[in-house]
């Protein structure tokens, strides 16, 4: 394997490690917060209720998380977690572009486009 690939791989690994660590701590903090805020309410997980219309939209999560709503802090952590592999693809895109590997820059761009599509096609 080429030295460039090895370096890119290391950078990706480091990035994933940092991303998942931050996300895990945010989720943990949100969990503690929500258990302190509402220790006795247990939602009904046994029946599917469909999507609450305003939840899980990035801006509403940010606002609620800012007001230290425990559930919203967890959701914010989950968003950070999902962003981690997406950033990895972006890393690959830049890395292959720097190595002047046109084929794999295009491959990374296609994967990145599919990921963006999955996030913005359902709103």
């Amino acid at each position: 394997m080429a030295a460039g690939d090895q370096r890119l791989e290391m950078a990706m690994g480091r990035m994933l490690q940092i991303g998942v660590t931050i996300a895990a701590f945010v989720v943990l903090a949100g969990g503690v917060l929500s258990l302190v805020q509402a220790p006795h309410t247990l939602p009904d997980y046994q029946h599917f209720h469909g999507a609450p219309p305003t939840r899980m939209h990035v801006d509403s999560i940010m606002t609620e998380a800012f007001y230290r709503n425990g559930g919203a802090v967890i959701e914010f952590g989950i968003l950070l977690l999902i962003a981690t592999p997406i950033c990895r693809v972006l890393f690959g895109l830049v890395g292959f572009a720097l190595m002047r590997d046109r084929l794999y820059t295009a491959v990374s761009a296609v994967v990145f486009a599919i990921l963006l599509f999955s996030f913005f096609s359902h709103r």
Partner: protein, 278 residues
């Protein structure tokens, strides 16, 4: 039960699932979903939503460990991610259109297959590579260390591998799992890549594949924070511990025990799906 007791119970069972998933090489998701559904009677949609989140966490957490060894192939991984992410979109789309019972049956079949595949173990020494023109053009080749020296490898039958990867992505999106067993099948059996390269590259791809269906899951309300929190943290902790143990321990007997547990879970999922109890 109150929220604290519930979170602790779910976290404890998730640690166990993550540990088991790492030891068998199946991943935490494939274990945690049936446990949540069958033991805790949690709705399948919420179980797969929480599982998918934990899958992203474990894949990213483990990748840091694997890339140090230089075993995964980022080019092969990136290219095949086109197939798995497209499959994941299809799978996530299907969740809302297929009955819960049918999803349970598919889940059970994947569990049975995964349990049997985990017992199969790593195959014998790699043969000399026969790269075709497509493998040359896509640079589907590399070298990896065997007993201290670098051995070359190259991919064969890339279109077949690509097709199986699409299936792996679809199962990942439909079931909220990493579907590592099917990804390994595509690389190891179809494309004749070395087993170690297949497993580590598969892990490398799992996070991105799961992220592709996560967008759909979020907008459909499958991911509930109160459930996803203990599942994600538990599975992550359990699988990190499991992969540490895996390095030190001789786990042949353990694998058999776990495979039997997973076969039982698979049979129960199929039974529950057929009788409409999911």
């Amino acid at each position: 039960m109150n929220a604290l007791g519930f979170s602790i119970e779910i976290a404890a069972i998730s640690v166990l699932a993550g540990f088991l998933g790492a030891l068998t090489g199946l991943g935490g998701g494939v274990v945690v979903v049936p446990v949540l559904c069958l033991l805790f009677k949690i709705d399948l949609h919420y179980a797969i939503g929480a599982s998918l989140v934990s899958v992203i966490a474990t894949s990213s957490g483990a990748a840091a460990m694997y890339v140090r060894d230089g075993l995964s192939n980022i080019r092969i991984g990136m290219f095949l991610e086109i197939a798995t992410t497209l499959g994941a979109l299809l799978g996530a789309y299907l969740v809302a259109r297929v009955s819960t019972g049918a999803i349970g049956i598919v889940f059970g079949i994947v569990l049975l297959y995964s349990a049997l595949a985990s017992l199969h173990g790593s195959p014998a020494a790699p043969e000399t590579p026969h790269p075709d023109s497509l493998a040359e053009r896509l640079q589907f080749k590399g070298s990896y260390p065997v007993n201290g020296r670098q051995v070359d490898y190259a991919a064969e039958r890339i279109p077949l591998g690509f097709g199986i990867m699409f299936l792996a992505g679809t199962l990942s999106g439909l079931l909220g799992i990493g579907s590592g067993a099917v990804k390994v099948l595509a690389m190891d059996q179809a494309m004749k890549l070395p087993f170690k390269v297949s497993t580590t590259t598969s892990n490398f791809m799992i996070g991105v594949t799961a992220a592709a269906s996560a967008g759909v899951y979020l907008s459909r309300g499958y991911v509930l924070p109160g459930l996803a929190m203990p599942v994600m943290l538990g599975v992550l902790a359990g699988s990190l511990a499991g992969s540490r143990v895996l390095v030190h321990a001789q786990v042949r007997t353990l694998r058999w025990v776990f495979a039997v547990v997973i076969l039982a879970l698979g049979a129960e999922m199929i039974f529950s799906g057929v009788t409409g109890r999911l």
